[in-house]
């Protein structure tokens, strides 16, 4: 598989806290890579490093053949095609659903084309019947979809989804998974950060596990989740006592 994102040995610490240490991994074009690990393992920090919100202190990131430098801030990386959603959705609360998407698509298109693009995204993401609703009045899963819909308006090559399943009920989760699959089917790579393992197993072709800011292991979802070190990272070592 052709490589889209190459994360090479990146680290960042905040004061004495080493949030991410020497983490490396790749994402292929069209791949759905799971990024999992217990709370505080550095998943969201990794996303922030890739998106440019934080600056890497060691190592480097290569995206689509281009080495990202200090000069490539969040805005520049978004223009390169790195999109992300936030753990808690962040709609433009003063705008309705349509304008939330339309505003972002204006960056790539003229007014006329942006209207067409917005219609396309609205129907793709199933937000069509809510176009006139103020984005703050949306229920939580629709807000997450709106975050996703907006990202699609920048024509991303990579979308980093930060816990899109959290707080959703099973049927909402199914619908959200279908949406992510649809996005992926259009050739967009996905970095899928998630605690809900059912979702990870069902959608990811490969997962990377972080623990305490370090790379722990990677592999096929089902295999990785069986591994002793992964179970220990999530549950602590104590569970082995029960087996004895």
């Amino acid at each position: 598989m052709e490589r889209l994102l190459h994360v090479d040995n990146i680290s960042i610490s905040f004061g004495g806290i080493k949030a991410v240490q020497n983490v490396s991994f790749d994402i292929g074009k069209g791949e759905v890579l799971g990024l999992i690990g217990p709370n505080g393992s550095g998943k969201s920090t990794t996303v922030n490093l890739i998106s440019g919100a934080y600056k890497t202190q060691t190592g480097g990131i290569n995206f689509d053949g281009k080495d990202l430098t200090e000069k490539d801030g969040i805005v520049e990386r978004a223009h390169l095609g790195i999109g992300r959603t936030f753990q808690s959705p962040r709609p433009f609360g003063n705008l309705n659903v349509y304008d939330n998407i339309f505003t972002i698509s204006l960056q790539m298109y003229s007014h006329h084309e942006a209207h067409i693009k917005t219609e396309e995204i609205l129907s793709d993401t199933g937000l069509d019947n809510m176009r006139d609703v103020n984005s703050l009045k949306l229920p939580i899963e629709k807000r997450k979809w709106l975050d996703l819909a907006r990202v699609l308006a920048i024509e991303p090559k990579l979308v980093m989804l930060d816990e899109v399943m959290a707080g959703l009920n099973p049927s909402e989760m199914e619908a959200s998974l279908a949406l992510v699959r649809k996005i992926n089917a259009n050739g967009i790579s996905v970095l899928f950060i998630e605690h809900v393992m059912k979702a990870v197993v069902s959608i990811c072709t490969r997962v990377v596990v972080l623990n305490e800011g370090k790379f722990l292991c990677e592999g096929k979802p089902m295999e990785v989740l069986q591994r002793k070190e992964v179970i220990e990272a999530y549950l602590g070592g104590g569970h082995t006592n029960d087996q004895n």
């Binding site: 936030f86 962040r90 433009f92 204006l106 960056q107 308006a153 920048i154």
Partner: protein, 333 residues
Amino acid sequence: MSLLFSKKKFSAKNLIQLFILIVLLILPHLIKNNYLTAVIITCFTFGALGVAWNLIGGYGAQISWCHAAFVATGAYTSFILNKRFGISPFVCIPIGILLAFLISTAIGYGTLKLRGPFFSIATIAFAEILRVLLLYFKGVTGGASGLYVTYRENSFANLTFSNDIPFYYIMLVALIIVLLITAFFEKSKTGYYLGAIKGDEDAAISLGIPAFKIKLRAFQLSAVIAAAIGTFYAFFLTYIDPASICGMDLSVKIGVVAIVGGIGTLWGPVVGAFVIIPLIELASNLVGQQGGTNLLYGLALMVVVILRSDGLLSIYTEFKEKHDKKAALHHSK
């Protein structure tokens, strides 16, 4: 306005618009009272300034308290150049605009990258600095005693007239131009981006919108318009001094007009101006100059913020929405 000229059938709405336009055009000849004309001109002026303020304060939610300084930039530039070198105010306007552009760029560069109240605080500080500078450089600015233009002849090029009626039309045209610019801005890419930044700056940046650049652009536009209006306002007043034209009072008045009328709406500041300015005139006639007007501001602002935080214009828009919904329901039946 655009509806007025469309080829669609003439509706009741068009008739009302046409009626308002005609009334506006003949009004100064109807009232024949120079004081009342002056009040209406002041309403137009503050309407235009409020609309300009709204570009950054309303659409961008970056509250500026230095718009008086931009008014002063336009006013002093044209007064000084006109008095010293006899240059027409119309030639001075581009110079005032350029100065306001440079000043707003300098203020914006330092503060619009920061979040929170820093921009607002910096604007207050800047306006005060300019006011003190105007007082200090007496030789050029006339210091505390200010500058005035004397009437010699009716001259459009020098903006001196024997009565205020020409200013009525000048300010009306200025207001319409400012409204047109703002309406265009609302629909422009920059306008949309600014709306997104107002909604959530971090989210906007993460989606590729260069927030700082957009905010700066809006602030520059807002400042430039205020400076242009400042020139006309100064020649209408015929007298300017640092306290009245570069003071906190004027900055607050501009902001209040927009906030009371409807922050972040096209027509809000115009509505606000036509409510606040007559009220101030009324208060200063009834209870005397200073104290009364300040009390009035406070009260007006409190009443609006408590009862109608979206501004007075929202009363109309809400009514219209309800009406439209009813009409739609009726239609579907």
